[in-house]
């Protein structure tokens, strides 16, 4: 058996409050499984299982616990768990003997559900029946039957940011088509000649870095009814969702970065996202963000703007169309993707956002090919 203890997250917080259990008494838990949520004076935290086994719950949601207090125990197997429960029930019987009488049904439920002595006493009855324990369980907000799946701490934080964005930012969106044949040919050239694998994302970061001085109203933060531009240099955040949450690491000093540095940074960021080992400084909010949506068949998404940023640029996956580019010539296959700009309408209007989007398109379709000597 090992104990699940109230964790310490901060030297200033000696106590934590148990917010909610996310598993039930007697559940089989696995290593790393989210067991319960606790909160300190500053934030909420997940408590994870350190070993697999059968869980016995001791702590009560809503109560405060000192750091290292035992919140529950994890037993190696069901036999060990039941032996512990039977022993605990015997102890409870002794301690409350003379105070209350437990019916057989009540005893069974107490054993199964891990009802504590304090909870039994709190009922304030001398004779406790099965119905009393069922009533107690139905009041337990953290363990209600049929309650929806709990959200992880990370997803709750994402939810807060999304809600704040939708509540505070009057966002608008413009999308346009970027023809990527030459860019994709350049990407293929880099692959075949240099063995470097890149994608549109690296070139989009490059483009946004180059445009920060010409379109400063899309780079910065809106705070207390004032827009604070990014200044001389800018940082670009890139969204990653690789299965365990949304992360937006930022690339600092993006305005003048050579492409090779961007390639290296993005490869490192992707690995950090995959292994979930970003550092706090990686995740500080940038001056503008990019939403990457390269999954098959995704034309585009309308991303939310990360407050207090004022703009996010999105790209979808690559499609092919047949079109006649020159009158009289036969149609030819062209590859394209959709570029979207979601912008805070308090700072920018539609015409300016369209100009900004067209400037990004121009870099991706033409300028970058010349600058890099690719394609």
């Amino acid at each position: 058996m090992i104990s699940v203890k109230a964790p310490r997250f901060d030297i200033n917080d000696d106590k934590v409050k148990l917010v909610q259990w996310l598993v039930h008494e007697g559940d089989q838990v696995e290593v790393g499984m989210l067991l319960c949520i606790v909160e300190t004076s500053k934030a909420t935290f997940d408590v994870l299982a350190e070993r697999a086994g059968i869980l016995s719950i001791k702590a009560i949601p809503g109560e405060q616990y000192s750091c290292d207090d035992v919140l529950g125990n994890i037993f190696e197997n069901k036999k060990e768990f039941l032996a512990y429960k039977e022993g605990a029930l015997q102890e409870q019987r002794k301690e409350i003997q003379g105070e209350v009488v437990l019916s057989k049904g009540a005893q069974k439920l107490i054993l199964e559900k891990g009802i504590t002595q304090d909870q039994i006493k709190a009922l304030g009855k001398q004779v406790i029946r099965e119905a009393d324990i069922l009533s107690l369980l139905s009041e337990d907000t953290g363990l209600a039957q049929g309650s929806p799946d709990p959200l992880s701490r990370h997803q709750r934080m994402v939810a807060q940011v999304v809600m704040k964005s939708h509540r505070e930012i009057p966002a608008a969106f413009v999308a346009l088509r970027v023809y990527g044949d030459r860019l994709l040919a350049g990407i293929a050239q880099m692959r075949t000649q240099k063995g470097v694998i890149v994608g549109i994302a690296e070139f989009l970061i490059y483009s946004l870095g180059r445009l920060s001085k010409k379109y400063p109203s899309f780079y910065g933060k809106y705070v207390n009814d004032h827009f604070i531009p990014a200044g001389e240099d800018c940082s670009v955040g890139v969204t990653f969702d690789v299965g365990h949450g949304l992360f937006v690491p930022r690339m600092p000093q993006a305005a003048n970065r050579p492409l090779q540095e961007i390639i290296t940074w993005l490869a490192t960021a992707r690995m950090k996202a995959l292994r979930n080992n970003f550092k706090q400084e990686d995740l500080e909010l940038g001056d503008i963000s990019i939403s990457l949506n390269a999954d098959k068949d995704v034309e585009f998404v309308v991303p939310f703007i990360f407050p207090p940023q004022v703009c996010i640029v999105s790209v979808g996956s690559i499609f092919e169309e047949w079109s006649q580019t020159t009158p009289g010539n036969p149609p030819m296959a062209r590859k394209y993707f959709l570029l979207g700009v979601a912008y805070d309408h308090r700072i920018n209007n539609g015409s300016k956002a369209t100009q900004f989007a067209q400037a990004i398109k121009r870099i991706l379709e033409e300028d970058i090919i010349k600058e890099m000597g690719i394609g």
């Binding site: 994608g199 690789v242 690995m271 995959l274």
Partner: protein, 84 residues
């Protein structure tokens, strides 16, 4: 080399790059496929780790740029029993 591992690697790569399984083989690499970009590469790693329930070594995945390298990496990890 276990035949089952080879089949499963081909299936994962075919899914990621939206190609028929018979187009995945020794010739398939970043140099021969337009589809193998940096975003698909990370998706490939995720899919392989999920399929085989393993963690691929970071130093291997950043140079795993052709079918044979992918297969060798997965086979090495699975054979060593290094599960997640």
């Amino acid at each position: 080399m276990h035949v089952d591992i080879e089949k499963r690697v081909k299936k994962v790569m075919a899914d990621i790059f939206s190609l028929p399984v018979d187009q995945i083989g020794p010739e398939f690499s970043v140099k021969t496929s337009d589809l193998w970009d940096s975003a698909h590469h990370i998706n490939l790693i995720i899919a392989l780790e999920q399929e085989f329930k393993v963690k691929l070594p970071d130093d291997a995945v950043v140079i795993m740029f052709d079918y044979q390298a992918v297969l060798n990496t997965v086979n090495g990890v699975v054979s060593n029993g290094a599960s997640l």
